[in-house]
């Protein structure tokens, strides 16, 4: 019978939650790397036993970890992230130039075909790649140096590269997103990049339709349809059907279109999930009712999913990397909260169960569907 393994990154360590295909009973292992912030951990599609983890701390900086046995044991790998050439400056919060400084890795994206190759999205925003299992990291500096880099500015959470999507039909094509610069695409394996933000409208920047400066919170893709992208922006839920060349707003009947997480059903490319958050200053659900919204029409219409989710006094947030879907026949949907809950739905969102209640604040959730 199939197994599901959830990889949960939190403010104070990583947890690994496993279940069989029924997804009713869960066992919990952890905390791994207790006391450290685990922004993200993700398994290799080419070898599910190979898992990479980003371990960081305001005191001790960045450490990278790798497991080759499905998360049972871990070994530190390379943690040197050097910007290519003269790093230059980006804009600081007050608009003044600020030198590029490495702070942490927000997101890890293993190659779809090679378990030794993995991409890392960093703060201050840059994309790094390792081709030796994480021992050494090289910056793909064409992104930062393509021209608009000096105009990039951090969002409240820092100037982070938080989303990396590899086109399964064309591994030379990679999409990334940065807060608060926007989305970018390469078609040549990372050598050259272009902003893909046409159609975004952000009233918090001087030119609301500028080429860069948009606070993209997350982007998602269905692997069978890599030209279609879904985006949760600071405000607005968006979609693109031309690989990011243009975007249109699909917030339609959402009660609020602020939020962080967005994901796509494993088998239905037009079924999309978001967790609406009240506003940019009130990072919690409206009226204390935690609701996932699902659109089965690619964003034309949204329905609330609430069965099993708290419908009173719930004031948690769901962060950008804290939602994932499995690939079992009945698609499982998972998300974690800043209150330390991880919710699982084995039926595409119809019903939910809290797998754990009291973890540290959840930063990321990934899922591996195992044979």
């Amino acid at each position: 019978m199939s197994q599901v393994r959830l990889l949960v990154g939190t403010r104070k360590g990583a947890f690994i939650l496993t279940s069989d295909g029924t997804r009713k009973q869960w066992s919990v292992s952890g905390p791994h790397f207790a006391g450290w912030e685990i922004y993200h951990l993700k398994g290799s599609p080419a070898d599910p036993n190979r898992i990479y983890a980003s371990q960081s701390s305001g005191w001790f900086g960045q450490v990278m970890q790798r497991s080759d046995d499905g998360g049972q044991t871990w070994n530190p790998v390379g943690n040197q992230f050097a910007y290519d050439g003269v790093p230059g400056t980006h804009q600081w919060y007050d608009g003044t130039p600020h030198p590029w400084e490495f702070k942490r890795v927000w997101h890890l994206e293993p190659s779809l075909t090679c378990s030794d190759t993995v991409y890392a999205g960093a703060e201050d925003a840059a994309l790094f790649r390792s081709t030796d299992g994480g021992a050494n990291w090289q910056e793909l500096s064409g992104l930062r140096q393509h021209g608009t880099g000096p105009a990039w500015q951090p969002g409240a959470g820092g100037m982070c590269l938080h989303s990396i999507l590899i086109d399964p039909q064309n591994p030379e094509r990679i999409f990334i997103a940065i807060s608060a610069a926007g989305a970018f695409r390469t078609d040549d394996g990372g050598k050259s990049w272009k902003p893909i933000n046409r159609g975004l409208h952000s009233k918090y920047i001087p030119d609301p339709t500028a080429e860069v400066g948009h606070c993209v919170h997350h982007i998602a893709m269905h692997p069978a349809r890599p030209g279609t992208l879904f985006m949760q922006k600071h405000w607005d839920v968006m979609r693109s059907d031309d690989a990011g060349d243009s975007w249109s707003r699909i917030s339609s009947n959402l009660p609020t279109d602020f939020g962080f997480a967005i994901d796509v059903h494993a088998h239905e490319p037009e079924t999309v999930y978001v967790v609406p958050i009240k506003s940019d200053s009130e990072h919690f659900p409206i009226d204390g009712q935690l609701k996932v919204y699902r659109s089965r029409s690619g964003g034309h219409e949204w329905e609330p999913l609430t069965r099993g989710l708290p419908q009173s006094n719930c004031y948690v947030n769901v962060l950008r990397d804290a939602m994932a879907v499995d690939t079992l026949e009945s698609c499982g949907v998972y998300f974690g909260t800043t209150g330390g809950q991880v919710y699982a739905s084995p039926d595409a969102g119809e019903t939910w169960q809290a797998v754990v209640h009291d973890l540290p604040a959840v930063l990321s959730v990934e899922v591996q569907t195992l044979p």
Partner: protein, 101 residues
């Protein structure tokens, strides 16, 4: 001339290094912050970047170095450390500063 120096690590670092909380390192030449940390990182390579920034080589902002009831954090990296540290009778303490949860 070599010295055997005791270094006491905070929990996060000795767990990362899979080492005891207090480790012995052998320092060649003058005993300074730089020579102690170089020796420590040679023995435990996974600690590279956790006490000194990779890019600048500077002490990380929330790391402190204490010994003999003194805060030595602001000494220059090549300044000599107290004789008791060099003799191995007092440990060189690596401290994670009190800076929140």
């Amino acid at each position: 001339m070599s010295s055997t120096v005791l270094v006491e690590l905070p929990a996060n670092l000795y767990r990362l290094a899979a080492s005891p909380a207090v480790v012995q390192v052998t320092v060649e030449g003058a005993v300074t912050q730089r020579t102690i940390l170089d020796a420590l990182e040679r023995r435990y390579p996974m600690l590279r970047g956790t006490m000194r920034d990779h890019a600048t080589g500077q002490r990380r902002a929330f790391i402190r170095f204490f010994a003999c009831e003194q805060d030595l954090s602001h000494l220059a990296p090549d300044d000599p450390l107290p004789e008791a540290v060099a003799r191995g009778t007092e440990p060189f303490l690596v401290i994670g500063a009190i800076a929140g949860g």
